[in-house]
């Protein structure tokens, strides 16, 4: 009985491993092969020449640069706009608080593709098409939910008695915030920042609609790459595009797993 359960567990785990990593490894392997003829289990030969193709293409280099600029910029803008609101949702009770929290959720319910289609006319009217600001707005909108909900939960989780003790010790409200509340809420804010970074880094549809062809990011470039280049080039580009987020994963696994994300999605 125990052996059956153990074997079953092994099969499930192995299956899940293959399901998650299989496609990534298969694609990644293509970055280093000259050709792979079906149905051979091994590739025809190994080569690094696809890397040269990617590295020599100025369009692709520009896309890398754009992506690495927009993502941090988005996190910063989103933090400035959303963190005060997150604090207000956690600590103040004001008219329409619940409605606003749910209203933020509604941005998630409207299909992204439809939203970008409807946004286009407004962007034309405001002359935001093919501008950095326009792209930034699209990216920030995709992060508002993370940057508001998760830090709000993190702020709310700071015990009031700790703030009161600081007040009692003689600290002014702003000092209390920066010396007690903020440090304690920081892990939650970090998770929000990571989620926002990934959302911005991943955003393709809106960026393409607003920014193309002047501003191509890595994911938007990926679409045309998939259609116009050999599979191996797309594989090389995929590896490059995955590198920053995988690095992020290794750095912050503990924080993301810590439950801040889940905490943030429960409206109180």
């Amino acid at each position: 009985m125990d052996r059956v359960a153990r074997t079953l567990l092994g099969v499930v785990v192995a299956g899940l491993c293959l399901f998650v990593f299989g496609p990534l490894l298969w694609l990644g392997a293509h970055a280093f092969v000259s050709n792979w003829t079906y149905p051979h289990l091994l590739p025809d030969g190994l080569t690094l020449r696809w890397w040269r193709v990617v590295l020599d293409d100025p369009n692709l280099a520009a896309a890398v640069q754009n992506s690495l600029t927009f993502a941090p910029l988005t996190v910063l803008a989103s933090a400035v706009i959303c963190l005060p609101a997150a604090y207000a949702f956690a600590r103040h009770d004001f008219f329409g608080r619940r409605t606003m929290l749910i209203g933020l959720f509604a941005t998630n319910a409207f299909p992204k593709m439809g939203l970008f289609a409807t946004m286009a006319s407004l962007f034309y009217a405001l002359d935001l098409m093919q501008t950095v600001l326009g792209i930034l707005i699209v990216h920030v909108i995709g992060t508002v939910v993370f940057m508001t909900w998760i830090p709000a939960a993190a702020f709310a989780a700071v015990p009031r008695s700790l703030e009161e003790a600081a007040r009692d010790a003689g600290a002014r409200p702003l000092r209390v915030f920066f010396t007690v509340t903020l440090p304690l809420a920081l892990p939650g804010i970090l998770v929000a920042a990571i989620m926002s970074f990934l959302a911005s880094f991943d955003e393709a549809q809106g960026t393409y609609l607003i920014g193309a062809p002047d501003y191509m990011t890595m994911p938007t470039q990926m679409y045309s790459l998939v259609l116009n280049y050999p599979k191996q080039v797309a594989a090389v580009f995929s590896l490059m595009l995955s590198a920053p987020s995988v690095l992020l994963l290794l750095l912050v696994r503990r924080q993301v797993m810590g439950g801040h994300l889940a905490e943030g999605f429960q409206i109180r």
Partner: protein, 294 residues
């Protein structure tokens, strides 16, 4: 600190951003779908084809009747709902299984499984979809391996199966994180008490753990299904041309077919479905906030 006005003011920046760049476009799009072509809609209306212009003061339902009676749209809608239900079900079974396994076993394998399942969150969706497409394609890994033992494996690329696989792959991390944290939050003593009362692990999971973790589970279901319902990248890269998911249709009608009004109507159909699911989420949250649980 205690003035309600300050809290309201602090909450304004993201609210105004959302109102201006999401709320306003949705409202004007709503008017456009009813055939009002003035104001912000004039640019779109000038280039769109097959448009239904308002005939009464409130507009016309012409675009809606056209889309909803279109057999192709109907089969796409059915495919979208089907893929959403199947993907969400698979995601939840996996997420709950992983969360429960982690609750009952603190082995390295259990922890490894949880880490494994959140990896896709850190891979851009475009890449994940493309990787899945090549993995299950005619010359992909699955068929290559099966060919070694003389089996002609299935080609899942450009089928609804690939869309489901891709949707599960991209949705799994969030669901695992939500459900795991909900299941971990159930106090040890409540589980011990059930075991002490004579419940097996399975009974403890079904009778005690999952009901107490109901809210995070509902949240995971909601966000997973809403995400799949409106998804574009996964079905665009891995799915068949027909029946297509509505996310792809919205893009095609807007750009390729140049029928923005029909595209908007479809967006509203998806929005209506997502709102219904969203209402479920809001209800679950309020139920928990009112003290029924915890």
């Amino acid at each position: 600190m205690r003035r309600p006005g300050r809290g309201f003011a602090m909450a304004m920046p993201p609210m105004l951003l959302i109102l201006g760049f999401v709320g306003l476009p949705i409202v004007t799009a709503g008017l456009y779908s009813l055939g009002h072509f003035g104001g912000l809609n004039s640019t779109t209306a000038a280039i769109g084809q097959h448009q239904h212009e308002a005939t009464t003061w409130w507009g016309t339902l012409g675009a809606y009747t056209e889309v909803l009676s279109n057999p192709r749209f109907r089969s796409d809608l059915a495919a979208t709902v089907g893929v959403t239900i199947v993907s969400t079900a698979i995601v939840m079974v996996l997420a709950i299984g992983i969360a429960l396994y982690q609750r009952f076993s603190d082995s390295a394998l259990a922890k490894g499984l949880a880490v494994l399942s959140i990896v896709p969150m850190f891979i851009p969706v475009v890449i994940g979809s493309w990787a899945i497409l090549t993995f299950y394609s005619g010359t992909g890994f699955v068929r290559t391996v099966l060919a070694q033992v003389g089996i002609d494996g299935p080609v899942w690329a450009y089928t609804q199966t690939a869309v489901v696989i891709g949707s599960v792959w991209t949705s799994l991390p969030f669901a695992v994180l939500m459900v795991t944290s909900g299941v971990q939050a159930v106090p040890d003593a409540l589980i011990d008490a059930a075991r002490d009362a004579g419940a097996s692990r399975a009974r403890t999971a079904a009778g005690i753990i999952l009901p107490i973790a109901a809210v995070p589970i509902v949240i995971a279901v909601t966000f997973t299904s809403i995400g799949v319902l409106g998804s574009f990248t996964v079905p665009y890269l891995t799915g068949p041309n027909a029946p297509a998911m509505l996310g792809v249709d919205i893009a095609n009608y807007f750009q390729a077919f140049n029928q923005p009004q029909q595209s908007i109507v479809m967006a509203f159909v998806v929005f209506a479905l997502a709102s219904a699911i969203g209402a479920f989420y809001v209800w679950a949250n309020f139920r928990s906030a009112s003290g029924a649980v915890r």
